[in-house]
Amino acid sequence: MTINGTEVSSDVEPRTLLVHFIREQASLKGTNIGCDSSSCGACTIHLNGESVKSCTVLAAQADGQEVTTIEGLADGETLHPMQEAFRECHALQCGYCTPGMVMAAISLLDEVPNPTELEVREGLEGNLCRCTGYHNIVKAVLQASGSQS
């Protein structure tokens, strides 16, 4: 598969999850594992441009496809607008949910470019954060939507 524009190839057990492939075979540790029930969204990545929880996809299912992780977002020193909004709004504390949250938020704005607060809250319900109370995450996503429109 292609991860962040780079071809990554490896023989793995059929049961290998995409998140483990990303972390172990591709050595990209930005994508985190926070649960074992597809509840937390810490492992959210983009598969062919759409957000998926990479704990719920087998590595084999992503064979030949395009994966983008948090490491593939910034353009050199320039942060993606969503990364910049998270930074400006203090939308992260411990940082564990952050990569998945950012990837899910970008995907949400692709689908709903100018969401209301309620649409953000319902759209990102599947991504848990334990530090921020979500307040500044919602603020950041709304801010980023303004900068994208």
Partner: protein, 761 residues
């Protein structure tokens, strides 16, 4: 102009946002090359005699070792942090010997070449369970109908009255002078800290030195607990390294048995070892918090003057006595809340049950005190028909009286509780809300409005009288600063806040300040991050140490400039030293550092604790047909003294508020009667999501504490302390016209619906 008080963006963020932070399981240390993976086999029964057969697992390909308690020739016991409990309860086996006492207790451990093999091998370990009687409910445990430790003879791990830590409970004559007396029971359900990063630990040896990496809040405490277990082997030292940590919330203060065994496993295998738990393991075995049941009685006059209060605490220690069993101490000393109540009597006991041992969780004993007194005051107000804002105004400790001692002997440093109330009421539009509530009641609308007020005070950097945290500031040859702290971040933004504090003293840019944290070799002493202590203790030490470094630098500058040291000033704007009045002739930090062998200073001064406070107002809508509760608004005025970085402080408030709301509305660690966990993953545990919360309305207020040089109090836990009673009071307020006076948390639709039906029938 000082950098303090500004919304400085975090130095942590660019790395966290582009590559992700580096958590323990992300480490790519050469020393961990070729590590074996650790998998624990856990009890599936709450109380049983066990016989373990690991032979099949040991024979599996890719399995490097399987060990049970019988195989341990190193550490076998991990004691609790507070040694005030009977030894059988205190001495937790690292691997269960012949008895398991809660679901999730470690029985055996597997070393394997891959985590997947470890999981397969764990399935192959055969455990025969001979069930023993189970006690799950703490009130039942207190009756000793089932005794977990025969050798102790009772489930009561401690009675705080017997130790003189509570006043003891007398009889009804205590309330003899009161015109109105109201009693109630407040259950504080068990909740999970649930940091998004589960526990993760790695270990190796360099010769006879043990090195551990772990996701933890207090590495020096871990070292203090584990080093003695390896006194024979670890002659070359014991180092704990904490990389980035994905949240802790109290659950990552202690070392757990799973951590304690890793150096032994590493030595046994002759290889480094790594352990990364699943979320299910995290919810089964990392210490949850709260788990109290309180009974209270409150008495006073018909016109609303509260004069008497009785609080009886029962705390659930879980199967072994860890920090949770000790936390009623905080509940007791904060029992008076924000009120001037002249007569208070208290009692507290901790009991063991066949559940996961409890630890600290955001607030740790103070949320329990606040929820009960705030419910009690509301119930008293309801009894005499007084507005909840008015009864609070009438009974607050008065701003003019600070510092002030409560009837239980706790001395609050500074505060203005009434002002926090008025600010919050204004922001909420309180009278309009009451009008809207009346309108809906008069119209008999299905969706009713509830307005809840809670004013809290809590103790931070406790226990009283205070604490210390190591801080060191050293100037590098380049004229920059390296700051060392025993306190470390697991989301609190130390890289930013501590750099601001040092920069303010040194006249440097924050980018010129490097923070060293989370390494017991590099930071010679320390305590850690919990109890809302970091800025006021760790920050104060950095502030003092930096001030001392400036004084030393002035002496060197005086020598270089051939001037009297008293005439030397530090130009804060550009970090240069000059003789007062002649700024053009100056010396930089680098020039001064060149003259000194060691330009550094440290501080570990005892600093008094502080008492943050505030008022939270919750507005809920209650569907009286379905029982559904929606939190519409959350208005909070939180006063934590002087603020270093408002952006970061607001973030701490937001996170605390969300967890406080979660306690009121969604989260509960639950068991069935046999001790089987009912909430052992995020699909079953009602962890709060963003869809269940509104944006929060924050009202600023700053009343400095005189107890430390920065004037700041702790803010990490305030939100979690104020929000729960505000939301609980709001729900009861919204149902009060039905006759409902109390409701258990978390407030489920079913509980609301049942409460309404009970009153209707």
């Amino acid at each position: 102009m000082s950098i303090l008080g500004n919304r400085v963006l975090r130095r942590e963020d660019v790395g966290f946002l582009t590559e992700g932070a580096c958590y323990t399981d992300d480490l790519n240390e050469p020393a961990l090359e070729g590590a074996l993976f650790v998998t624990y086999v856990r009890s599936i029964m709450a109380h049983a005699k066990i016989v373990v057969d690991a032979s099949e697992a040991a024979a599996m390909p890719g399995v490097a070792g399987v060990f049970t308690a019988a195989d341990l020739d190193g550490p076998t016991i991990l004691q609790g942090q507070v040694p005030m409990f009977p030894e059988p309860m205190l001495n937790r086996p690292i691997l269960a010997t012949d008895t398991v006492r809660f679901v999730g207790e470690c029985i055996a451990v597997i070393l394997s070449e891959t985590p997947e093999t470890g999981a397969d091998a764990a399935e192959a370990v055969s455990v025969d369970y001979e069930p023993l009687p189970v006690v799950v409910d703490m009130e039942e445990a207190a009756t000793d109908s089932v005794v977990i430790y025969d050798e102790v003879g009772t489930n009561i791990a401690v009675d705080f009255s017997a130790l003189g830590m509570a006043t003891g409970i007398t009889d009804d004559s205590f309330f003899g002078d009161c015109e109105v007396v109201v009693s109630g029971r407040v259950a504080h359900q068990r909740t999970a800290p649930a940091p998004l990063e589960p526990r993760s630990t790695a270990a190796t040896w360099e010769g006879d030195k043990a090195i551990m990496w772990m996701s933890n809040q207090a590495p020096h405490g871990v070292k203090g607990a584990l080093e003695p277990l390896y006194a024979e082997q670890a002659k070359g030292g014991f180092q704990i390294i904490v990389p980035d940590v994905g949240g802790g919330f109290g659950g990552k203060i202690p070392p757990y048995p799973e951590d304690a065994l890793l150096p032994w496993l590493s030595a046994k295998a002759g290889k480094p070892v790594r352990w990364f738990e699943t979320r299910t393991e995290n919810l089964l075995a990392m210490g949850p918090g709260r788990a109290h049941v309180h009974r209270f009685t409150i008495g006073g006059s018909k016109d609303g003057n509260i004069t008497h209060y009785r609080l009886e605490v029962l705390a659930d220690s879980g199967a072994y006595t860890r920090l949770g069993a000790f936390l009623p101490m905080f509940t007791l000393i904060m029992s008076s809340g924000v009120y001037d109540i002249p007569h208070i009597e208290t009692g507290a006991r901790s009991v063991v049950t066949n559940t996961t041992p409890t630890e600290a969780y955001r607030g740790a004993g103070r949320p329990e005190a606040a929820l009960t007194i705030e419910r009690a005051v509301d119930m008293f107000a309801g009894e005499i028909g007084m507005d909840p804002a008015d009864i609070r105004r009438k009974n607050y400790l008065k701003a003019a009286d600070f510092p002030v001692s409560t009837a239980v002997g706790t001395e609050y440093d500074s505060g203005d509780y009434e002002k926090s109330l008025e600010l919050a009421l204004d922001a909420a539009g309180y009278s309009d809300l009451r009008d809207e509530q009346t309108r809906r009641r008069d119209n008999g609308e299905v969706v009713q409005l509830g307005i809840g007020i809670a004013t809290y005070v809590e103790i931070t950097a406790g226990p009283a009288p205070g604490g210390a945290e190591y801080g060191k500031v050293e100037i590098t040859p380049q004229g920059k600063a390296r700051v060392y702290s025993g306190s470390l971040s697991h989301g609190q933004s130390h890289q930013t806040t501590f750099a601001m504090i040092a920069a303010d003293q040194l006249g440097m840019d924050i980018e010129d300040i490097e923070l060293v944290q989370g390494d017991t070799d590099q930071v010679s002493e320390g305590v850690g991050t919990f109890g809302s202590r970091s800025t006021q203790l760790g920050g104060s030490s950095i502030h003092r140490a930096a001030g001392q470094v400036v004084e030393s630098a002035k002496q060197i500058a005086a020598d270089l400039l051939e001037a009297n040291v008293d005439d030397i000033v530090l130009d804060q704007a550009n970090g240069t030293f000059h003789v007062s009045g002649t700024p053009s002739v100056n010396k930089t930090w680098a020039e001064i550092a060149e003259e000194a062998d060691d330009l550094s200073s440290e501080s570990n001064e005892q600093t008094k604790c502080s008492y943050p406070f505030g008022t939270h107002i919750a507005v809920v809508e209650i569907d009286t047909e379905t029982g559904g509760v929606t939190l519409d608004r959350m208005i909070t005025c939180d006063d934590a003294g002087t603020i270093i970085n408002p952006m970061i402080v607001e973030g701490q408030r937001h996170g605390g508020i969300a967890q406080g709301v979660a306690q009121a509305l969604t989260e509960e660690v639950s068991y069935d009667a046999d001790g089987n966990p009912q909430s052992a993953n995020f699909a079953d545990y009602g962890i709060i999501s963003m869809a269940e919360l509104p944006s929060f309305e924050l009202v600023p207020m700053e009343t400095p504490t005189p107890n430390n040089p920065l004037g700041c109090k702790g803010i990490g836990e305030s939100g979690a302390i104020g929000a729960t009673p505000a939301v609980a009071n709001a729900v009861v307020d919204g149902l009060s016209h039905f006759g409902v006076t109390n409701i258990d948390l978390p407030v489920s639709s079913l509980r609301v619906w049942e409460a309404i039906q009970e009153q209707k029938n």
